[in-house]
């Protein structure tokens, strides 16, 4: 009974724990669980190249998206416009620290860290500079999976624009365009990253015994 099972020949479903033989997939194919229908493994097309390019573009768009004014209002002859960064400054200025923190975290910090992380990972894979620290790095990267809320913030912008349109004159600035592009880039870079491939490659390169120095 105590036979050692070669665990790398099997995969288990994350949602329902059903176990399968590991399928051999070509790029662009994905395997689904028979029991609950969730994705088992997915081999993405050109994962490293794509996530490198998307995250690089995302990081370049980051500054305009944060610093350019997103929209402005005119009311009774007065004009005022605000960018994402102003948003945080004003919130701190007026004493709403908690919302300022949340907006900063979910709409600025987490997306930037995720983009930078994806860029670093795909850079290391692209130029073959794999190091053992990547294991910890990629594990930490997964902690942020649920906490990027750029898409929610985008809907927030749309709703508040609609709201303001009702009784003020609204102007839309270049910041909005930059923000939308930033949103697209960060979503695409997260989608393009092929986790199974990266983990497989890291595992083959750094088997566990070698890292602890007893190989």
């Amino acid at each position: 009974m105590d036979k050692k099972i070669n665990t790398s020949l099997f995969v288990a479903c994350q949602q329902c724990d059903a176990i399968y033989d590991k399928p051999h997939l070509k790029q662009g194919q994905l395997a689904k669980c028979n029991r609950c229908g969730s994705t088992l493994i997915e081999r993405k097309v050109d994962s490293i190249e794509r996530s490198f390019n998307w995250s690089l573009a995302g990081l370049m768009l980051m500054l305009p998206a944060i610093l350019l004014p997103i929209m402005g209002v005119t009311l009774a002859g007065q004009f005022h416009q605000a960018s994402l960064f102003d948003c945080i400054l004003v919130l701190i200025d007026r004493g709403f620290f908690m919302i300022a923190c949340l907006v900063f975290l979910f709409a600025i910090a987490v997306p930037i860290v995720r983009l930078a992380g994806a860029l670093y990972l795909s850079y290391c894979f692209k130029f073959n500079k794999l190091k053992p620290s990547l294991l910890n790095f990629f594990r930490a990267y997964h902690h942020l999976d649920h906490w990027a809320m750029l898409n929610v913030f985008m809907l927030g912008i749309v709703v508040s624009m609609y709201k303001l349109l009702d009784d003020t004159e609204l102007t839309i600035n270049l910041g909005l365009l930059a923000f939308i592009l930033w949103l697209i880039c960060s979503t695409m870079s997260a989608v393009a990253l092929d986790q199974d491939y990266i983990w497989d490659k890291l595992e083959r390169k750094f088997p566990r015994s070698c890292i602890h120095g007893n190989c």
């Binding site: 724990d17 009774a76 929610v152 927030g156 303001l164």
Partner: protein
């Protein structure tokens, strides 16, 4: 259907590698993270976050969420009265979006997770395929209830015209964000595999029952 648990294997939640579950916590051979075969005390954690979220949801609805100052006179609005104002102004799409994002979604998440925890705990009428789909939807809905917070934050920033009009956030916004974050924690700490565990163990029990019944008949 065989599960990893039956074979004495555990799936790493971070890198999805199967490890032999020899001692808890398992240390993953690939990413060196510590983890448990099932999320530890999953039901208790989910229940606790859920109760906390439900408690925070009460002040979130009672206190004003946004205060609009026009010529120095403040006009307070709670989440519900804000939605009422939209309907009065005829802005139905926004009213529906805000109502869904800030009332229906958090409530559905809290109630849904309570139901899932109850079903897993008691095993009454548990349909894993259906319930795991429900869980999946609840997990996806999570961040969308932050919508109201972002809208208020944007309104505070953009509508800042000194004495003429300005918008301030009310205390409810803090409670509301707490609700949303706690429901996200609750959904994250729930382990959907528990839904399936119950079913497999019950089907095993049933099959063993039928076997023993057959044996009894044979004996007779």
């Amino acid at each position: 259907m065989a599960t990893a648990k039956d074979k004495g294997l555990a799936l790493c939640p971070k890198c999805h590698k199967l490890n032999p579950a020899t001692a808890e916590p398992v240390i993953c051979a690939r990413c060196h993270g510590k983890f448990y075969q099932r999320k530890r005390n999953s039901l208790q954690y989910t229940l606790a976050w859920n109760v906390a979220a439900l408690l925070a949801f009460i002040p979130a609805n009672l206190y004003p969420i946004m205060i609009v100052y026009q010529l120095g006179i403040g006009d307070e609005a709670t989440i519900l009265s804000g939605i009422g104002e939209f309907i009065e102004h005829g802005l139905y799409p926004i009213a529906i979006i805000i109502f869904t994002a800030s009332i229906i979604v958090p409530l559905i998440k809290i109630i849904g997770l309570f139901v899932l925890v109850y079903k897993v705990h008691t095993g009454i009428r548990l349909k894993p395929d259906k319930h795991s789909k429900i869980y999946h939807i609840l997990e996806l809905l999570g961040p969308w209830s932050m919508l109201d917070v972002f809208v208020v934050a944007l309104m505070v920033t953009v509508v800042e015209l000194g004495f003429v009009t300005s918008v301030a956030a009310g205390p409810a916004i803090n409670y509301f964000t707490i609700t949303v974050i706690f429901t996200m924690f609750a959904a994250n700490s729930f382990d959907p595999r528990l839904l399936w565990d119950k079913q497999t163990s019950e089907s095993v029990k049933n099959s063993s029952n039928t076997l023993s019944e057959q044996k009894d008949r044979n004996d007779k």
